[in-house]
Symmetry: none
Subunit: 227 residues, 2 copies
DNA sequence: CCGGGCCGTAACAAGTCCGTAACAACGGGG
DNA sequence: CCCCGTTGTTACGGACTTGTTACGGCCCGG
């Protein structure tokens, strides 16, 4: 069974529902939007793993959504849904940072295959076992070993560490971290992130006072460096 | 050969024809207007890629044209043509949303270069990694490297650098910089911009006394040039 | 050659942000 | 029902950042 969060932005209800049903049946989480502005909002807050994006939308069109996401430095894979014979649109979209496209009418099987491929490629970027100085993080068993010895991490601590591992070398705002690790509907202070970071540093840093992996980015948030 | 649509609004026929001929020869499409109202009309209907705008016009003057375009959310690049020694006019125009200016009498070569630069800028988006002489700026990780070594930037310094990178080759007033980097509700002196610029120059310029990237524009503000 | 505006910059002052400790709230399991 | 682990909030101190003021240099015009 597959897993992953798929966001679909498409204004034609027939296509939208068809896609949603098929992806749900294939084991994905799905959210949908019928116009660009709301879709963009969802892409930012829900942090999906893949975006299926119709180019022709009322209001903010697909190109703009694409551009906004890429200027916001999102690396979310984007698959465009385009009408046949609009190759110049495809070129434009790819130049704006989209990853792939399918032309309508498309085979749902093919689209599922493409989606799985993008998700796989993305997941492979994060190795299941990562070495951090004296520590070894295993994402599949959710274990942390330090000099070979098991160190207990709380769920929040491990979630935070995982998010850092998936987003290395990026300055992450507290808000982004909250949305990704705590979830959208978490009504907590941004200071909670600081606290969690302090706790995590105690366990993975050799000198929590002078952190090597979790660096503070003043006024922004934190940056995870593997170096 | 260049391409693009240039609209020129200028009431002095000598200057107008000179500009038109030069831009036509350089490969642009050109339309002209000798007063504001008609010019504005053309800007809306013809949708040019660049506007050369004289500030002193009969009837609706250049400021009004500027304001009208910007309140209509147009992002048309505007280069003002101004008389020498009227720097306060320039500041006013830039604050109203103009992108750049040249003072009469101006070198046609310089104006052509500026025009090309503005047309180019419209198309490309800001890369996540930018090279500045010996420095490398990474907007994603918010890091600055100089000859490969990390250089620490304070939040304000990095914010300023980012704004410069996003607005290269433009004369920026202190007011614009304050609004963009400090925020609209910042109650600080314009001299704070100078101080921040000095600090930033120390870190990115090879010779802060003779800056290469952050140029001072007397009585106006600063201009960021990429070689 | 003098004077005035403008900007670079040093020194000081004030303000802001973050690490961390202490405490409170919450919830699951025995 | 209580205990304990986890997580969130608040408070405080210290370090760093940033704004202001002041002074001096430079360029220009008279």
């Amino acid at each position: 069974m597959n897993s992953g969060k798929i966001l679909i932005i498409e204004d034609d209800p027939a296509i939208l529902f068809g896609l949603r049903d098929n992806f749900l049946r294939a084991g994905y989480e799905v959210k949908t939007a019928v116009e660009g502005q709301l879709g963009l909002e969802l892409a930012r807050t829900w942090q999906p793993d893949l975006l299926l994006l119709d180019l022709m939308l009322p209001g903010m069109d697909g190109y703009q959504v694409c551009r906004e996401l890429r200027t916001a430095e999102s690396d979310l894979p984007i698959v465009m849904l385009t009408a046949m014979g609009r190759e110049e649109d495809v070129v434009k979209g790819l130049n704006l940072g989209a990853d792939d496209y399918v032309t309508k009418p498309f085979s749902i099987q093919e689209l599922l295959a493409r989606a799985a491929s993008h998700l796989r490629r993305r997941r492979r970027q994060v190795p299941l076992i990562t070495l951090l100085g004296p520590c070894e993080v295993n994402l599949s068993s959710r274990e942390l070993r330090r000099d070979g010895a098991l160190v207990e991490l709380t769920p929040k601590e491990f979630g935070l560490l995982e998010h850092f591992l998936r987003n290395p070398d990026r300055a992450l705002t507290r808000d982004q971290i909250l949305n990704a690790v705590w979830g959208l509907d978490a009504f907590v202070t941004e200071r909670s992130v600081d606290r969690a970071v302090t706790l995590l540093r105690q366990k993975i840093e050799e000198n929590p006072h002078r952190p090597r992996f979790i660096r503070t980015v003043q006024k922004i948030g934190y940056r995870f460096v593997v170096e």
